[in-house]
Amino acid sequence: MRSRNYRQEKDPKLLERIRLIEQTDPEYPERFHEYRRMPNSFYVLGELPDPKGPVVAIVGSRACSEYGRTQAVRFGKAFAEHGIQVISGMAYGVDAWAQHGAIEAGGRTFSVLGTGVDVCYPDNNYVLYRRIIREGGGILSEFPPGTGPDGWHFPIRNRLISAWADLVLVVEARLKSGSLITADYAMEQGKTVYAVPGRNDDVNSQGCNRLISQGAGIAWNPETILQEFGIAAEDASVKEMIPDKTHSYMKKSVRKGGENRERTAEAQTEARPGTRLPKKWEHADDFQKVYGFLNSDPQQLDTLAMLSGLDLPSLTGVLMQLCISGYAIEPFPGYYCRS
């Protein structure tokens, strides 16, 4: 028996906000008339994407890697910071992280669901679902309220994600990924497609790399895409990324909101260096060394011990410092990567 992993919204205050938008309504997006296979009507909970502002769709693998996660958050944040609305499918992995990043940066984000607008699937994303609505975004669906998840709903809702977007960004995709369906619809609808490049041997990046070879734009940093919308932004990726030699968690005083216990990307970025504290630390050199061996791929303790040549007690000491101060994270127990 399949266990139920969606959640039906029960809050009457929320449910009464569900609206049906017909083809004849002024709110029905004008451009939908130009595309093929558009629904005659759809449901919305919350707001509709502002047709005057730019909209970017961020889609990607559900089983995303740490790299996919950080990139999704990074792009989602960058767009939100520059007033670009982010639309996605609120699935596991890239979709959810991109929307999460956008919300964290104070942006508006929209989810096109393969279920009714009152059904949150997967249920893990319920917190996100409520936040999207609360923070001025919206939940959209062509399926009537109460519709549960069904395999065939998801590929077809992808045409709506691309239809609402001005540009589609694929963060991570396998060769047979649903995200590539979104990219296909986007091209059919005449939208620009960007893909985040990845390593050749990462199955999660092969779909993106193939898109690039087929002519998709290379999303090597968010600014490239911002420029598409005529937004000139300075390249934030050039900033110094190496931690200084101070006793790292001494920096907690410079952290904003120490009570914020979520390991959000925002909190981690805020913890990045900038303030130097005078206190020197005996393991400072090891600190640099271990950080140097960390990358976006989570690595196991033994691997790091072998690379760095440190014994376990010193290595664990350094790693915990890095984690606490936000330079590194432990995405899976016993595995470490850069935050």
Binding site: S3, N5, R62, A63, C64, S65, E66, G68, R69, A91, Y92, G93, A96, W97, H100, I103, P122, N124, N125, V127, L128, R131, D201, D202, V203, N204, Y249, K252, G258, E259, R261, E262, R263, T264, P298, Q300, L301, D302, T303, A305, M306, G309, L312, P313, S314, T316, G317, L319, M320, Q321, C323, I324, G326, I329, E330, P331, F332, P333, G334, Y335
Partner: protein, 519 residues
């Protein structure tokens, strides 16, 4: 004529004295057995009658009544054959009553008069000593086991004929007890494992503080190999512990014939299809299960999520109380169960997560797989370690950093040191290891340095440590500090404990299983 000899029955892992009374009187020839006996015990009359006949002793045509007292406890097993035969021989006047004074008798009879082995000889001999007996008569096969008890003379017999000779003052030739006292070495060693430094380190910490350990890793990464070697680094058994374990194995009938006292830490690895009764003990009368057989040793549960959840949940009580109580219609028994739990699991159904390139599971599958282990069980596990498959260089022993894999002897030396420190610290408490620390004692014994306290505070707020996780980390860092002979817990001890902490949620809070956070 009435006469009485002493024997013992088994309840749980303890014995209690039973007096076997025989009376021979006039009346219709009859052989009656009373005293709340099971059918196994009732069969004794036929074995006794036939064995006597085959020794050329004819039972007189009299009314023979056998009573096993106390009559309110049910008696099981075949261990009463020999005492019944002895009582009958006494009643017939073939053996003088003073021969079996202050003597406990245990043994099964075969039809030809030879004596077969019995379960639970060790606890019976201990009980005999307690009851003030000076001699204990046991089957020859159980002699080694009986001789483990000092302060009482244990004589092995192989036939009822020898008993008759004994009554004439001839003591049968005893097998050499010395030969049987040999200490058996473990046939595995940590030196067999190349690499796996973090798993070995976790094993040392687990062994030193008797912390339960969860090993996670892909198939073939060496989880079972590591678990199997943990008994080899546990502190050596002292006399009392040896006796405890031997009693259990004696009652379970699992004691090898040539071993007098078990001196190796037990290692039990039940298959994941194990039933509730097999794991925790059961049956009527209750018999010890795997948790009891692993007493003072290691209970290894491989493929933890594949186990029946109902069976797994039964571990809660023994993990907490170090013993298990089994209630059955006939009796209620409490078995000791102070074991070190070593559990192993794959991170996902296919086993390769978090290697996204090899893992073929969906986020949902991983979540379901990992959530099969309840929070209650995870709460009782202090340490968690990731086991990585060894690289080719490690396998072939050509690794750059470690010239030679550390052996069990080296690791045990470390563990013994830490055990001594703990024994010294807890000498006034009814406990021996850091893992047994209760919340009020934690504050008292886990003194943190300023830096360590800062780090723990930072970890509490930034690594999502829970209150329970905080206590786990404190206990484990106490053990790590003990391994370093430090009385105050330092920052490095805390950080290592944090690295090996068993997280509340096993699956990632990021990546595959979607967003957990948010407002």
């Amino acid at each position: 004529m009435f006469c009485r000899v002493l024997s013992a029955a088994i309840a749980g892992v303890e014995a209690f004295p039973v007096s076997v009374e025989a009376d021979m009187g006039d009346g219709m020839p009859y052989f009656a057995m009373v005293g709340f006996v099971s059918s196994q015990v009732r069969e004794a009359q036929d074995r006794v009658k036939t064995a006597l006949k085959n020794l050329g002793i004819a039972l007189p045509p009299k009314r023979i009544t056998i009573n096993l007292a106390p009559g309110y406890i049910r008696k099981e097993g075949t261990r009463f054959d020999l005492p019944i035969a002895c009582a009958v021989l006494e009643a017939m006047g073939l053996i003088a009553p003073e021969i079996f004074e202050d003597t406990m008798i245990i043994g099964e009879l075969h039809l030809d008069g030879s004596i077969g082995s019995a379960f639970g000889v060790l606890p019976s001999v201990i009980e005999a000593r307690k009851a003030g007996c000076s001699v204990c008569i046991v089957p020859m096969q159980n002699l080694a086991e009986g001789q483990a008890v000092s302060g009482i003379r244990v004589i092995g017999f192989s036939s009822l004929r020898d008993i008759l000779d004994y009554s004439q003052g001839v003591i049968p030739e005893q097998e050499d007890g010395e030969r049987r006292m040999r200490v058996l070495d473990y046939d595995v060693d940590f030196a067999d494992i190349q690499g796996q430094e973090s798993a070995k380190r976790a094993a040392v910490i687990a062994a030193a503080g008797f912390h339960n350990l969860l090993l996670m890793g892909s198939p073939g990464s060496g989880k079972s190999m590591t678990a199997e070697r943990i008994p080899t680094i546990l502190p050596e058994l002292d006399e009392e512990e040896s006796l405890e374990i031997t009693k259990i194995y004696s009652v379970a009938g699992l004691l090898p014939e040539d071993i007098s006292l078990i001196r190796r830490r037990p290692y039990r690895a039940p298959h994941h299809t194990v039933t509730q009764a097999a794991l925790c003990g059961g049956g009527s009368p209750p018999r010890p299960g795997e948790v009891t057989l692993a007493h003072r040793g290691v209970l290894f549960l491989d493929e933890l999520p594949e186990m029946n959840p109902a069976v797994l949940e039964m571990l809660r009580q023994p993990l907490e109380d170090k013993r298990i109580t089994i209630s059955r219609l006939s009796s209620t028994c409490t078995f000791p169960a102070a074991f070190l739990l070593v559990a192993a699991m794959n991170p996902c159904p296919c086993g390769y997560y978090p290697n996204i390139n090899r893992c073929s599971c969906t986020p949902r599958q991983i979540q379901i797989y990992q959530s099969r282990i309840s929070q209650a069980i995870l709460d009782r596990i202090d340490l968690r370690c990731e086991v990585m498959p060894a690289s080719y260089e490690q396998l072939t022993g050509r690794q750059r950093h470690t010239e030679k894999a550390r052996s069990s002897a080296q690791m045990r030396a470390q563990v013994m040191d830490a055990a001594e420190v703990q024994a010294d610290r807890y000498r006034k408490l009814p406990m021996r290891f850091n893992s047994e620390l209760r919340a009020p004692d934690i504050e008292r014994y886990c003194t943190l340095s300023k830096d360590a306290a800062d780090m723990l505070k930072a970890a509490y707020s930034h690594l999502g440590l829970s209150a329970r996780g905080y206590h786990h980390v404190l206990k484990v860092s106490r053990t790590i500090a003990d391994l370093d002979h430090e009385s105050v817990i330092k920052e490095s001890h805390v950080s290592e404990a944090l690295c090996f902490r068993c997280q509340e949620k096993l699956h990632s809070q990021t990546g595959k299983p979607g967003v957990q956070g948010g407002g």
